[in-house]
């Protein structure tokens, strides 16, 4: 098994003695797309700039294929990395000139430059834009050219800072799909920063969740979604807080939790008597007009409070001693004849609930 392509240890960065980023360990495997995910202002962009050696730093250890990179070897490593800023800044000249600039920095010969230009223009479908000026392009086209000028370099590492930010929905989906395909094909090791959950879930081979300058959890999106390690991560992953309760018994890891007079089952490592905050994802809640006989452990008789349509789905706000939400399709909502005031059964599997350490 091959070791990580890039490792970062003991990275610290502060401005005016205020710690902005502190990462004990971070690794990047060859060929993967790692999504650095977190709220705005978590230090994601700063982290990328630090590991691309673009900012001075307090301390850090960077390992390339298991070997520590010294300050002297840094320019060598920097040539292997292409980092795209969030804002697509273009240099004076045509799109063509902008695309070739990275290759000129690397002193590639003209023939090779032309070959790559032709290839990348086809792949990104930007041939008609080559002789235009960046100022004349639409936001979506600019973003496409911005991405293309990173791929044309064929770097070993590609660091992208929110490349799909600020695009309208339709264009964003298109570019996301193209990017996914092109990246898979090129196999370039990628870190992509985003604060959009859907984007992270779609692109990530692995996810690193960053909050307040620290990487709080790393793993596949499924792993992190299934067992978020902190309430913050679970909220970021789209989990909503269900209720706070107390563990009354534990059997084979299955917790029996009492909250507002209801019994709730969930899997976790907490002990009897401990307080827990239960979180859930509205997508995983099932609604039924009668209580069915299923393996689902948690059923609550709830009152529909509000229906909020979102795209093709409906968000149903429920009340059953505590607040509860279900995210279901419009068709289901119509079939169940949901309307405010109607009483309905809401079910959620014990494994779909994440118990986090409660505030004691």
């Amino acid at each position: 098994m091959e070791g990580p392509a890039l490792e970062v240890k003991n990275l610290k960065y502060s401005i005016n003695r205020r710690l902005i980023v502190e990462v004990d360990y971070f690794d990047l495997k060859k060929g993967e797309c790692l999504v650095l995910f977190g709220p705005n202002g978590a230090g994601k962009s700063t982290f990328l700039r630090l590991i691309s050696w673009l900012e001075p730093f307090d301390s850090r250890e960077i390992y390339y294929r298991g070997k520590r990179v010294t300050e002297k070897e840094a320019p060598e490593l920097r040539k292997k990395i292409v980092y795209l800023l969030q804002k697509p800044v273009f240099f004076r000249g045509t799109v063509r000139h902008n695309l070739l600039l990275g290759l000129k920095f690397r002193k590639l010969d003209r023939k090779e430059q032309e070959r790559r230009l032709e290839k990348i223009a086809t792949v990104f479908q930007i041939e008609p834009l080559l002789h235009r000026y960046p100022e004349e392009l639409s936001g979506g086209e600019r973003q496409r050219v911005h991405l293309a000028r990173a791929f044309i370099i064929e770097p070993e590492f590609l660091f992208l800072d929110e490349p799909f930010n600020g695009l309208d929905v339709q264009y964003r989906e298109q570019l996301l799909a193209d990017f996914y395909r092109i990246r898979k094909f090129s196999g370039v090791t990628t870190i992509l920063v985003t604060h959009v959950r859907q984007e992270a879930a779609y692109l990530a081979d692995r996810l690193a969740v960053m909050v307040n300058g620290r990487i709080v959890q790393m793993g596949t999106p499924e792993e992190i979604s299934a067992c978020p390690e902190t309430p913050e991560v679970s909220r970021l992953m789209g989990h909503e807080i269900l209720v706070e309760g107390q563990v009354v018994s534990v059997e084979n890891g299955l917790l029996e939790i009492e909250a507002h007079g209801q019994k709730i089952y969930a899997f976790g490592q907490q002990q009897t008597g401990g307080k827990v905050v239960l979180t859930f994802r509205p997508e995983e809640v099932i609604l039924a007009s009668e209580k069915p006989a299923t393996s689902v452990r948690n059923w609550f008789l709830a009152e529909v409070k509000e229906l909020r349509p979102l795209d093709l789905m409906v968000l149903v706000n429920l009340e059953c001693g505590f607040r509860f939400r279900a995210f279901i399709s419009r068709n289901s909502a119509e079939e169940l004849k949901l309307q405010p005031g109607k009483r309905i059964w809401a079910g959620v599997k014990a494994s779909a609930l994440s118990p986090d350490q409660g505030r004691n």
Binding site: R78, I81, F91, G102, F105, E135, F159
Partner: protein, 223 residues
């Protein structure tokens, strides 16, 4: 005044002011680059001095250079007082702060994200500096235009260190002063027109260079 004399005077004006401007560019641009990239104690003082220097009175510069080059002055042994070399030195001192100051301003108007993106695309330190020059080209040319315009039209410094020697250190501005004093108004007017035409021609050339770099996209059009 003979035609060949006019040609000689005009030619000397171009050579003296042109070399002073080129020299100022050779020293001013690296100085501005250094000031842009490096932070050091006293940097603000240096920048303030440069900005003050942009308004140096030519007569004061002439006096200062004359004191240095005077036969008994510290550089008197060079024996370049009342030569075109002394005129170039004086004009260089006038042009240097103009070019350094305007270049620095031009650099500071470049969005730092450009440089960061250039580095992030793999530019070395030298290549980053070249990107900075390229991005701020318009401002640089404005500096050159201002500096050349300033030195070709000044009279105080060249008069003091050149001495307005006929056929040797006489340039357009000093010749105009001379002709006016002697009452040869028509010669003075001709020389004045030549100076204006020369200024215009050189600025036309520099402005064309500058506008070539301007973006094709002109922004919102006025109706």
């Amino acid at each position: 005044m003979s035609f060949s004399e006019i040609v000689q005077i005009t030619w000397l004006s171009v050579i003296v002011s042109g070399s002073a401007t080129i020299l100022a560019l050779l020293f001013g641009l690296p100085a501005a680059t250094f000031l842009y990239f490096k932070n050091f104690p006293g940097k603000r003082l240096v920048v303030t001095l440069i900005n003050t220097g942009m308004g140096l009175p030519p007569v004061v510069v002439g006096l200062f250079v004359a004191l240095l080059l005077w036969r008994n002055g510290p550089f008197g042994f060079l024996q370049i007082m009342y030569t075109p070399v002394a005129m170039v030195i004086a004009q260089f001192i006038i042009a240097l702060p103009v070019i350094a100051g305007l270049s620095l301003t031009a650099f500071e108007q470049v969005d730092p994200e450009f440089l960061l993106q250039a580095r992030a695309l793999g530019a070395s330190s030298w290549q980053t500096i070249l990107v900075l020059f390229h991005q701020s080209r318009m401002g640089q040319l404005a500096g050159i235009i201002a500096a050349f315009g300033g030195v070709i039209s000044e009279v105080g410094a060249v008069m003091m260190v050149g001495g307005n020697l006929k056929g040797y250190t006489r340039v357009l501005t000093t010749a105009i002063v001379q002709e006016t004093r002697m009452g040869n108004f028509s010669s003075a007017v001709y020389l004045g027109l030549i100076l204006l035409a020369l200024s215009f021609a050189i600025n036309w050339f520099l402005t064309s260079l500058q506008q070539k770099g301007a973006n094709r996209w002109r922004g919102p059009r006025w109706k």
